[in-house]
Symmetry: none
C-alpha cells in the first residue's frame, strides 16, 4: 500500500476519493492555505516549502502507521458480496438486484482476470439465452449502481469485462 502525495487544497476532490477507499495520503499544504484537520490516521500533511528529508519522514511514518493498523483488527478495504446481494467496499455498500448480483459474483470469482461475455450470460441467465444486447444494458445499469461504492467495470474489447477497484 503506497502513500499518495497530493496538493492541498488544489486536489481536494482526489483527497476525498482516497479517503473513501482508505488509501494513505500526504497533503502538501500550500504556503498560505489552512491545514486540514482530520482524524484519519491514514492522512498526514506538511507545510510547503519543506525539505525532502522531512517529506520522506512523513511518508515513512504514514506507511508504518498503516502497516500497524492493517495488521490489527481492520483487515483493510475488502470487497465482498453476500448471499443477499449486498456488495460492500469498506464502510460503503449497495444492494444489488438478482441479475446484477450474479454478474458481480462472476466478475468477483475471477477477480483480476477477464471474464468473457459468454460466462457472464451464463451466470446471469443460466437457463435461457438472451439477445446479446441485454448484457450490455445490464452492464450499464450495474456500472451506474457501483459508482457510490467506488467500483469500476472495465471492458476489454471483444474479450469481456474485468473488475477494477
Amino acid at each position: 500500500m503506497d502513500v499518495v502525495i497530493l496538493q492541498w487544497p488544489a486536489e481536494e476532490e482526489r483527497r476525498a476519493s482516497l479517503l473513501d477507499c482508505g488509501t494513505p495520503r500526504l497533503l502538501l499544504v500550500g504556503r498560505t492555505a489552512l491545514p486540514p484537520v482530520s482524524s484519519d490516521p491514514r492522512e498526514d500533511w506538511v507545510r510547503m516549502p519543506s525539505s525532502d528529508r522531512d517529506i520522506q519522514a512523513r511518508v515513512a511514518g504514514l506507511t508504518l502507521r498503516c502497516r500497524e493498523q492493517d495488521s490489527g483488527p481492520t483487515p483493510g478495504p475488502t470487497l465482498s458480496l453476500d448471499n443477499d446481494g449486498i456488495l460492500s467496499n469498506g464502510r460503503n455498500w449497495v444492494a444489488l438486484p438478482p441479475i446484477e448480483a450474479a454478474l458481480v459474483g462472476a466478475l468477483l470469482d475471477s477477480s483480476g482476470s477477464v471474464v468473457s461475455r459468454a460466462t457472464l450470460q451464463n451466470a446471469a441467465w443460466p437457463d435461457r439465452d438472451t439477445p446479446p444486447n441485454t448484457l450490455d444494458v445490464h452492464m450499464t445499469r450495474l456500472r451506474r449502481r457501483l459508482v457510490p461504492v467506488d467500483v469500476v467495470v472495465r471492458t476489454v474489447r471483444s474479450r469481456g469485462y474485468i473488475l477494477d477497484i
Copy 2:
C-alpha cells in the same frame, strides 16, 4: 486527554515515558534535527520554526485521532434497544410499541446484513401468521417513528430489510 508539547531531540526521555503511558504528544523538531519516525498514532511532530496556526492544527488533529481511537473499534454511534422498547441513539431516543420493538430487535441482531420478511414476521408474531401486508404497514409506521433518532430502514427488494445508521 490533553496533548503534551515537547522539544525534540532534547526531551527524548520524556517522550519515551509519555509513549509508555499513551499520552498524545507533539514534538517540536529542532531546525537541524532528524525527525522521528514512529508508528504511534498518538504522536506527531512539526519542523521548527513553524507558525502557531500550524501547531494548533497538529494539536487538533492529534486530539481528534485519539478521541476516535479511544471510542474503540466500534466507530458507530451506540444504538441500543432496552427491554422496555426504548431505542436510543446518542442522546436521542424513542419509545417503541411492542411489535415495532420486536422488529427493531430482529434488525439489530443481524445488524449489517439483510433480514428476511419471514424472520421479521416470526420476530413480531411468533405464534401466529399474518397476511403479508401487515408487515409493510408496521414498517411504514416504524420508519416514521425512527426519523427523530436518525435511523433508517432500507428495503432490499424481494430479500428483506436492513438497518442503516
